[in-house]
């Protein structure tokens, strides 16, 4: 569906990403993982056209890139226009892409979308400030899926949320993938969340791809030393296991 081909971006002498190539296949969830500074954000910005790469290109197998590729941002407190109501936010894509021209039609569609992501129809005339982080992220998801995209790019969509709410949003994304047949590029640093959601992984280290593989292969049998060390550091909510792991080093 979406292919990154040799993406390279430099800022002055600093190389943010170099020769990043991968393909997001139809119907799969691809995890893009790495630590801060690994180049995840730059890669995403190049993919959605917010940053122009110095070399390489992005290919999208479908018409109308702007409609077909949608994005959910990390910080739901920053990604919603504070002066628009939920109905306007979620309905905007329907309007600008000419999907639903009548205002009443948009409202009824928005109501359906809100219910799809687990919000209430009656929420649509409220402003973002009256929603919690998790609810805002649901609004952002509703906005993205409103235009019936083929690809959803999620940039750390749950890392700013409370633990008990993270799981809710992860479940919503999983449902969306199953119900809508979306291809999802899921950017994250939390390998436990990624394991839950992703079919395949691309591991970034210092702006380059360290390893690519299926979920089963990477979690059971990581090849790159970098992936191994990342996996070894994932904390587990089990005191006995943690003690064992620490004494092992």
């Amino acid at each position: 569906m979406l292919t990154a081909d040799g993406l390279t971006k430099r800022y002055g002498r600093f190389t943010a990403i170099e020769d990043i190539s991968f393909t997001l296949h139809a119907g799969e969830v691809l995890g893009l993982v790495g630590e801060s500074g690994s180049g995840k954000s730059t890669t995403v910005r190049c993919l959605v056209g917010l940053t122009k790469p110095d070399a390489g290109q992005v290919r999208y197998a479908g018409p109308k890139f702007r409609r077909g590729v949608q994005m959910v941002f990390q910080d739901p407190y920053a990604s919603l226009n504070p002066r628009m109501t939920v109905a306007e936010i979620v309905g905007e894509g329907l309007l600008v892409h000419g999907i639903e021209k009548s205002s009443a039609g948009r409202r009824s569609r928005v109501g359906g979308l809100l219910e799809q992501v687990g919000l209430d129809k009656s929420d649509m005339d409220r402003y973002p400030r009256s929603f919690s982080g998790g609810q805002r992220q649901r609004i952002a998801i509703a906005r993205a899926i409103a235009v019936e995209p083929k690809v959803l790019i999620c940039d750390e969509p749950v890392s700013a949320l409370d633990v008990s709410v993270q799981a809710q949003v992860v479940n919503v994304l999983r449902d969306m993938k199953l119900e809508l047949g979306l291809s999802i590029l899921f950017i994250a640093h939390d390998l436990a969340v990624v394991r839950y959601l992703c079919d395949r992984l691309v591991v970034l280290d210092g702006g380059r791809i360290a390893e690519t593989g299926t979920r089963e292969q990477i979690y059971a049998n990581p090849r790159a030393p970098y992936t191994k060390s990342l996996l070894a550091a994932v904390p587990v909510p089990d005191p006995a296991a943690e003690r064992l792991r620490r004494s092992a080093r």
Binding site: E35, S36, S132, G133, G134, Q135, D162, V163, S164, V165, Q166, A167, Q168, V170, N171, R174, H189, D190, L191, A192, V193, R195, Y196, Y219, S229, L230, L231, A233, V234, P235, V236, P237, D238, P239, A240, A241, E242, R243, R245, R246
Partner: protein, 319 residues
């Protein structure tokens, strides 16, 4: 074991809102206690209130530090305790360090404020940075914060906090801004130093994963109240309170087989401005009974710990 820090009935009010409502917590010498909660739980306000960092916030109840009452103490007296006896590190090392001041000065400052000579303070700063694993510490005293990575900055923060050999370290989400590998290193360093110096650590966090590896005891806060407290082993073997259970169940983990869906706690964390009546957790609790909606539960002793839940009292909940 004697308590270094004994918090009893702590209340924190901000702008007429009760953010922390009657918290009891004991910190014994050399013990590592985790205070766990989500947004609006009051965990961070608790930490700040202990050190009286916000003058506009009204703090009530009792905080005994080595038997001495801190609440109601004049600011001048609090300042003597803060930093030297009770130290604190914050979540974001980037904003907590002064970008225009050299690392050495910042680490040595708490000592300098207490009249230690410059040369001796600098020497101790270098030693402390060295113990915290900052490479070539003595040479880098003259460096500025921007020359350090996030993990290194957090070590600098820790060095400045620990250089006065405090009895208590309050660490508010100290590793949340760090990558997992660095997070583990920093926690291990805190653990080692605390053990060597007999420092009691209060770790404020939302991350149950790091609690399991770090703490001896865990207290869970919800909407300004402690709903559960136990040893880590007992807590992670099975929380008593429905909120603790839900919280633990919703953590995705790499050590378990994959399930179809993640377990969740429905709804959103209660806000202090709209605290539900009775048990604040009842709107999110699947097992809530009528009593939960009207009466606030009190903490009951259960095994090695405590929990505040009517269902436990009624025997309706398996612990």
């Amino acid at each position: 074991m004697t308590s270094v820090l004994r918090i009893h009935g702590l209340t924190v009010d901000v702008g007429g809102l009760r953010i922390v409502d009657g918290l009891d917590l004991d910190l014994r010498k050399g013990e590592r206690v985790a205070l766990v909660g989500e947004s609006g739980s009051g965990k961070s306000m608790t930490a700040r209130a202990l050190l009286r960092l916000d003058p506009s916030v009204s703090v009530g109840g009792s905080v005994l530090f080595q038997g001495k009452e801190l609440i109601g103490l004049p600011e001048k007296e609090v300042r003597k305790v803060r930093g030297s006896q009770i130290a604190m590190v914050f979540q974001d090392p980037t904003t907590a360090l002064n970008p225009l001041q050299r690392i050495g000065e910042q680490v040595a400052e708490p000592l300098r404020l207490r009249g230690v000579g410059r040369r001796s303070a600098m020497k101790q700063a270098a030693e402390m940075l060295d113990r915290l694993g900052v490479p070539r510490a003595a040479e880098r005293l003259g460096a500025y914060p921007h020359e350090f990575s996030g993990g290194m900055k957090q070590r600098v923060m820790l060095a400045a906090a620990l250089i006065t050999r405090p009895k208590v370290l309050i660490a508010d989400e100290p590793t949340t801004a760090l990558d997992v590998r660095v997070q583990e290193q920093v926690l291990t360093l805190i653990e080692q130093l605390a053990a060597e110096e007999g420092i009691a650590v209060l770790l404020i966090t939302h991350d149950l994963g790091i609690v399991a590896g770090f703490a001896d005891r865990v207290a869970v806060m919800y909407a300004g109240r402690k709903v559960e407290e136990n040893s880590v082993d007992a807590f992670f073997a099975g929380p008593s309170h429905p909120y603790g259970k839900g919280l633990l169940a919703s953590v995705p983990r790499v050590d378990r087989a994959l399930t179809e869906r993640l377990d969740t706690v429905p709804g959103v964390p209660a806000k202090p401005s709209a605290r539900p009546a009775g048990c604040a957790f009842h709107p999110r609790c699947a097992a809530a009974i009528d009593r939960c909606r009207t009466d606030a539960p009190v903490l009951l002793t259960i095994g090695t710990g405590q929990a505040a839940c009517h269902l436990i009292e009624e025997g309706a909940l398996r612990c």
